[in-house]
Amino acid sequence: MTNNLRFKTSKFIDETYRVSFKFNNKTYYGFKGDTLASALLANGIHLVGRSFKYHRPRGIMTSGSEEPNAIIQLHDNSSRTEPNVRATEVEIYEGLVASSQNCWPSVNFDIGGINNLLSPILPAGFYYKTFMWPASFWEKYEYFIRKSAGLGKSPKVADPDIYEHKYIHCDVLVIGAGISGIMAAKMAAKNGFKTLLVDEKSYLGGSSIYDNSEFSKINNQITSSWLEKEINEISKLENLEIKIRTSVAAFHGYNFLLARENLTDHLPINQRENKVRQRLLKIRAKKVITATGSIERPLIFDNNDRPGILLSSAIKKYIDLYGVACGENNVLFTNNDTAYETAMSLIQRGIKINAIIDNREQIDSKISYEVEKNNIKIYKGYTVVDTYGYRRINKISIMKLSKDGQTVIGDKTKLNCDCLGVSGGWTPAVHLFTQSGGKLKFREEDQVFIPDVYPSDQISIGSCNGDFGLEEIIKNTLSSIKKFLDIDNSEYKTVETISGLNQSKRNIWLLPSDKSIGKTKSFVDYQNDATAKDIKLALREGFRSIEHVKRYTTTGMGTDQGKLGNMHALGIISETAGTKMGEHGTTTFRPPYTPLTFGTIVGRNVGEFFDIFRRTPIHDWHVANKAEFENVGQWKRAWYYPKDNENMHQAVQRESKAARDSAGILDASTLGKIDIQGTDASEFLNRVYTNAWSKLAVGKCRYGLMLNEDGMVYDDGVTTRLDENHYIMTTTTGGAANVLGKLEDYLQTEWPELDVYLSSVTDHYATISVCGPNSKKIVSKVIPDLDLSDEKFPHMSFKNAKIDNIKCRVMRISFTGEHSYEINIQANYGKSVWEKCMEAGKDFNITPYGTETMHLLRAEKGFIIVGQDTDATMTPIDLQMDWIVSKKKFDFIGKRSLYRSDTIREDRKQLVGLLTENPEEVLEEGAQIVADIKKTPIEMLGHVTSSYYSPNLKKSIALGVVKGGKNMFGQKLIIPMENKNINVTVADPVFLDKEGERLNAKL
């Protein structure tokens, strides 16, 4: 390969520091300061990938985050492997390994390239049209499409790197450290604003920092020298924080921005150990100054995608910043003066320019005259009509443009080249501005969208605001920042600029060709292989809105979001449809501006921090005793405690039997507990529960059902009157937070006159439930001073007590139908009291049981679980719980809804018991319930909500909801399953001890 592509003239490249790296399994060398793209170009490599649809060879096209083609896989075969990385943004380091994507078996010989030959039959919408019908074939199509399309490989193992999130609050955020960003940051910081300046690059100064041309001067100094002094000055400002390698990904409302700070990706692998790789910055700025610059436009002509075709500004950057020539025989193709700057950079180093093709007939700028003086042939009023060369451009053909620019005339001329620089002018990078909700306006004279209406305290300056000339940029930056920050001192006295460029441009969105459009491949979106022909086809087929055309042709839908070609797509649409630019809307740029890794997004919230969980004070005991856990809301609850080799079914059967035969113990600490105090506490409970509370005596407990205002069951639980004006309410585990929120809502907004105070005390208490015929004996051993006689301590009452001098509350309440006690004690004593109960119950085979057994025991008694046996469509009447709905109370939440025409229907789904014909057959929860399977479509009557095998009844039991079920006791129904129909009989939902003998037995 050629050796003379590297020019030892750049101060950004450290030639004493050689770096080796691998690309597609071959070792290459670059220097510290290179990007992967510049290092590859220095090695003469342009071809780096294949396009998405046609698998056309593609080369490095740009030098920044807008790169559509040089999308590579970083770190082959490791846990750090990362797809879709832009080679133009990767700083090389010793040991870098990268490879091309979307090509098989290799980038030089790609089987998918056959799609390129088939392209006449792969028009826009091809996948939609061809593969949509019959739908059953989709699975087969998808396999082939994915196999030949795939963009990179995701890692197969966990990401070993560390990521974190950081909040930053500042007065002024400046995005982009180009010439206007630097000036704005200095003005802000020097005027007392706490300022943050960020830039996605590894250096400050933007493109002006390598602008060494005599044709661009500030205060009589070469622009880059002037800027270096400015950077030097702001680096010392105390009020200013500067972050490089930091790209703003999202600009949300109220000046909330997300940025990714890259901390280690440029370091050799062995220097990254234990360091944070990337930081997601959550920035809240009082004022935002956007100075994101602009992106050079390509030109749209036939075969404009060959390797060796680059943006002209990229060629300039590669030579000026990296000292790398992209070619040895260059042609520049332009419609404005930008390419002449590139020409001067090449001329300075003696790199051959074969010709400049300029769309314009008249060119009148100092810089163009200077280029002409160097004997460079300029074809004025010409256009490129075709290019040649498969893996690298080797020739172009050009023709003269007609006066109106719509056709080409005259003869075709062929020119040799190995590199073609294109410039279609500049597009302001308004992506972040539009993300923030800003409205754009279209500027006719140079065909650009620029910021118009700002939705928050922000401003755009420099070329992202449509200021392109050096003088204009500096003048407008000074005046608008002064106004924006409301400052008198701009920190700049006079700033004189000299520029050899003229802002004239001849804009032609789609350049004409001597071929018919159907025979051309003029790419508008390189990454997604969308051509001008595709856009025209979409319009012919009736698409009008830019958003529709975009989806149909996939223009702008790649990882680069069409940063290069979106404007051309809009232009071609409006030209073809004969409408004004912007009339079809502009495309929406959505965050992130450049892709973010998942690691950055989740930060430290990985592993056990991914989803937080709560544990009860007794959690460690459950772990030590080998409980299996179940997630209930955020809680980890003991599910069952397998002994020896028991499976879940065996453990639950044993636990359930023990609880009824002798004694069981349950950790109920997760139940929500709300402390209610105030002189209106009883009245408040009257209004939020369906039953009456005023007459509940101090020291008594009552079960309550809470409805939504629509009459549907919301939550349930036992509330205890601790004192005249003091209650403790329990809620379901999952409903605790919502119930508190709902109660607070009513208190604050509907009934502020009530004297009631609520506090959540869920975490303050450990709750231990001991049940079974021997529970009394066990509790009397744990709390010997407490009189447990039925006279002194009947069912549904409460006592204050002490265990080892620690106060506790004991309730005699039951969720199992057994004689049982609930001990509530300050949370940190929970585990020791639990252990005390275990010790006291040793002789009675006290058996810890988990949530599964709890569910089984309550199902035997027909007690509902809100959220399992109910959904948001069940009233208390549907649950056959009419007894708990007070007829006397004037009002309570949901009362009025209980006699709406819909809630009084007799055929609503109602809760019933279900017994299977075969007592060993256990139903599946969620299974459908029907009556007639012969008549189709089969009418669904309801579904099974809870189902267990009861060891105490020695048969299968189930609860379910059935339309009109209340009046169907004894009726036979069918549960159709995949391979059988199960016969069931509708029964009373209370399966065990309906009379309450167990509960009231004398123990």
Binding site: H252, G253, Y254, F256, R284, G437, P455, E709, D710, G741, E744, D745, Q748, T749, E750, P752, F890, D891, K895, R896, S897, R900, S901
Partner: protein, 91 residues
């Protein structure tokens, strides 16, 4: 993400708040005297305005107070916040 000026705590991140639907809907004092239609009007019917909208918000991860907000739903500008029971500000 909004910055919301809680009338009790001052300016806080939106993530600390919960939206609670349309404001100034008073629960009927005597629901039992309402027809099904009147009750349904209270229960289900809510406005969804493009423009100035009066909303309830709760500082759920803060002081837990409910308050009212005037928000322009077309551009998410918060025009005013005020306490429960206070009259909405005149435009």
């Amino acid at each position: 993400m909004f910055l919301i000026n809680c009338p009790f705590c001052g300016e806080r991140e939106q993530s600390e708040f919960k939206a609670g639907g349309e404001a100034h809907i008073v629960r009927p004092k005597q629901p039992t005297e309402l027809s099904d239609d009147e009750w349904a009007e209270y229960l289900f019917m809510r406005k969804n305005i493009k423009g100035i909208q009066f909303e309830r918000w709760n500082h759920v991860h803060g002081c837990r107070k409910w308050f009212n907000m005037v928000r322009d739903t077309s551009n998410d500008q918060i025009k005013a916040v005020y306490k429960m029971g206070e009259k909405p500000p005149v435009k």
